[in-house]
Amino acid sequence: MKVLVAVKRVIDYNVKPRVKMDGSGVDLTNVKMSMNPFDEIAVEEAIRLKEKGVATEIVVVSIGPAKAQETLRTALAMGADRAILVSTDEEVEPLGVAKILAKIAGEESPELIILGKQAIDDDNNATGQMLAALLGWPQGTFASKVEPSSGEVSVTREVDGGLETDKLKLPAVITTDLRLNEPRYASLPNIMKAKSKPLATKTPDEIGVDIGRRLEVLKVTEPAKRQAGDKVGSVDDLIGKLKTLGVVA
């Protein structure tokens, strides 16, 4: 089966985001950018399906600036077969991303689309579900285990009460959670090889999707800061403090 994977270029997981002084957003100048960690898990899962002989081809898609090519090359170096960049300097909302991916799914006819459950920049947790709705496909969100068999896929999902298992008919959309797998690092030879893998570039216009924003960001501010309190020297002092605060009797 063909697998489509969507990846997003975001602020690196280890960078502490700083809000711009003018309140217009988070400062991303000279900040390390990487593949969204949940999307890395999505790429890894697709590769494992290919290694098991389940997936035949992995197409990786990113919607973003020209630099998102680097993110796609990373996915190709990990083991994806070819890439599509939908190039735009606009910040595309999950609804717009889902519409673009739905169009690409129409052209590519994958049986499985795997995405990260959320991007660590806008924290929306919406694209996969929206894509599934637009395609009329079932969705396996927050997946920690994905087991395809003939015509269907069993998905174990990390839910508030534990682990839920659903069965979905293919084609289906999966969004990844942290415990699905541990993504591999691309080896140097594979990074070199990835440079010659096909990468097509399109624009949202060419695809025929209006990416106009529905949400206007009026301002971005820093949250109220917590002040560090006191350190105590012993368990007795700790209990004393808790008593003063009325936490324990």
Binding site: P17, D123, T141, F142, E158
Partner: protein, 309 residues
């Protein structure tokens, strides 16, 4: 404005997170509710009593059990013809369903709202809560998920809503619920616990995690949480994870033990009223947000604390 709150329920009980969603919805206007599932008469009845709810729409059908998004979302989208905002708790159930409803309505969801500024304007956390965005929606209809810690819970008693049966739609036939491996616990649920004791990788093993934390939690009547590292290492199940992409909690007291305090973890607990940190590394970032810190060996401190409390 007429709102439609998705009522999350399990075993005939309405989940607390729904009550926070009702409060958020009431800031927008009239509050209606959607109860979906089979044999949900008692749940609908309970929903009519929640303060602020005017009407409860009941969609009854076995295909709506377990909150299967493929079947619930079309029912909600249909009901939205007569409502202006769909409001769901930002739980795994709400997060699964709401974006699907939004796409069916062709609107952009506003995720995990922290406040309602006016009927078009909301605040929400981005970048793991390191920034708060104020956003204005230009969509005619709104789809919102509500962060449970940001709104008071509506009272379960005092309302006098009416019940209306609605079209339950049909089974999309492309998904089915197989089962749930529920983590059994007598302890309070993390998102509603007054006290949480939370452990990190420093515990070293699942055995030590439980041998040390469980008695402390029992003594305090606390819920037990964990850092991502502890869950990844298999010390605790996934639903213990507190953080940006796990559970967002704001208890009266959060006791972080052997947790260094990565920004992703802080994102899930920094709105707790009192934060206590126990860590052997005095430079650990967790101390920067802790009200009370104790530097030392958790293997000595935790048993002593449990004994002396």
């Amino acid at each position: 404005m007429k709102t439609l709150v998705y009522v999350e329920h399990e075993g005939g009980q309405i989940k607390d997170a729904t009550l926070a969603a009702v409060t958020a919805a009431s800031k927008l206007g009239e509050v209606h509710a959607l109860v979906a599932g089979s044999n949900v008469g008692a749940v609908a009845e309970a929903a009519t009593k929640i303060a602020g709810i005017g009407k409860v729409h009941v969609a009854d059908g076995a295909h709506l059990d377990h909150g299967l998004a493929e079947n619930v979302a079309p029912v909600a989208a249909k009901l939205m013809e007569g409502h202006d905002a769909f409001v769901a708790p930002a739980t795994t159930t709400g997060k699964n369903i709401a974006p699907r409803v939004a796409a069916l309505l062709d609107v952009m969801q506003i995720s995990e709202i922290l406040s309602v500024e006016d009927e078009n304007t909301f605040t929400r956390p981005i970048y793991a809560g390191n920034a708060i965005a104020t956003v204005r929606s230009n969509d005619a209809k709104k789809v919102l998920t509500v962060r449970g810690t940001a709104f008071e819970k509506a009272a379960r008693e005092g309302g006098s809503g009416s019940v209306e049966q609605v079209d339950a739609g049909s089974d999309a036939g492309n998904s089915s619920f197989v089962g749930i491996d529920a983590s059994e616990s007598e302890r309070p649920e993390l998102t509603s616990a007054k006290i949480i004791v939370s452990g990190g990788r420093a515990f070293g093993s699942s055995e030590q995690f439980h041998a040390l934390l469980d008695p402390l939690a029992d003594k305090l009547g606390a819920g037990v949480g964990a850092s991502r590292a502890a869950v990844d290492a298999g010390y605790a199940p996934n639903d213990y994870q507190v953080g940006q992409t796990g559970k967002i909690v704001a208890p009266e007291v959060y006791i972080a033990i052997g947790i260094s305090g990565a920004i992703q973890h802080l994102a899930g607990m920094k709105d707790s009223k009192v934060i206590v940190a126990i860590n052997k590394d005095e430079e650990a970032p967790i101390f920067q947000v802790a009200d009370i810190g104790l530097v030392g060996d958790l293997f000595k401190i935790v048993p002593e604390l449990t004994e002396k409390l």
